[in-house]
């Protein structure tokens, strides 16, 4: 199996109108893996959740930059979404289903649940006052998993 790596990075202003751009860019980048429509939807949703969180929680809709790094190695897609925003004081609590610190904004508290459901694996690193990085992995395609990736 071919293992050539392909990488891209994006950096953009933390503005809600860029949420669509971010997920479309990641979807376009992964297209060489021939993903199914469902796999594309999964990745777009997970990216949308992470980017939205950076904008509304990380930067609280103030100025800032969101950073995405995408890597494809074999048929595994790795996406990280990072901000230099306020950080998460209690990651475990933040990841509980339905937990949200912005109920007044009609947040459902399902962002992390969706990321976990739609991707194969998720890691969260955060420091208060420094920022947050979400790292996600997903194997794309129906070819059998050979256990060598990642």
């Amino acid at each position: 199996m071919e293992k050539k790596k392909n990488e891209m990075k994006i950096e953009f202003d933390a503005r809600s109108e860029n949420e669509g751009f971010a997920r479309v860019a990641v979807a376009a980048f992964m297209s060489s893996l021939d993903p199914t429509l469902e796999e594309i939807a999964d990745v777009k949703t997970a990216v949308s959740e992470a980017v939205t969180n950076s904008i509304i929680h990380g930067y609280e809709e103030q100025e800032g930059k969101v950073y995405i790094v995408c890597e494809m190695t074999g048929d595994v897609l790795q996406v990280s979404v990072e901000d230099q925003g306020k950080g998460i004081p209690d990651i475990e609590k933040a990841m509980e289903p339905l937990y949200t610190t912005k109920p007044e904004m009609d947040r459902s508290g399902m962002g992390f649940s969706f990321m976990e459901a739609f991707m194969d694996h998720l890691e969260v690193a955060s420091e208060v006052g420094k920022g947050t990085r979400i790292e996600m992995w997903k194997k794309i395609g129906t070819t059998p998993w050979l256990g060598e990736e990642e």
């Binding site: 809600s16 109108e17 469902e38 939205t52 947040r107 962002g111």
Partner: protein, 102 residues
């Protein structure tokens, strides 16, 4: 935007956008709540005819409207949802509290 909201009898019909994310949800929440306050709205119908993408922000929009409408004895409906949107509705548990019609 305004043309996506219509009151028929006491039903507020909301035509959802093609991509329902946080960016789009802000204006929908605002307009819907204004109409619920001003007009004689008891029930809400979210029409997903045009919608090809929805994340948890969409769930928040529906859930928030559900809370308002529900106390007053109203109901929330989702119509024309495609497989992808239905999947999100199912995963969120919303399918248990709103009516998803085909």
């Amino acid at each position: 935007m305004e043309e996506d909201f219509k009151v028929i009898e006491n039903y507020l019909m909301v035509r959802m956008p093609e991509e329902l994310d946080h960016h789009k949800s802000v204006a929908i929440r605002e307009t819907a709540d204004r109409m619920i306050l001003r007009e004689d709205v008891k029930n809400i119908v979210f029409d997903f005819e045009d919608t090809r993408f929805m994340d948890s922000s969409g769930i928040g929009v529906i859930m928030g409207r559900y809370k308002t409408i529900h106390c007053l004895g109203g109901q929330v409906f989702a119509i024309h949802a495609d497989g992808q949107i239905k999947r999100i509705l199912r995963m969120s548990g919303l399918k248990g509290i709103i009516e998803v019609l085909d």
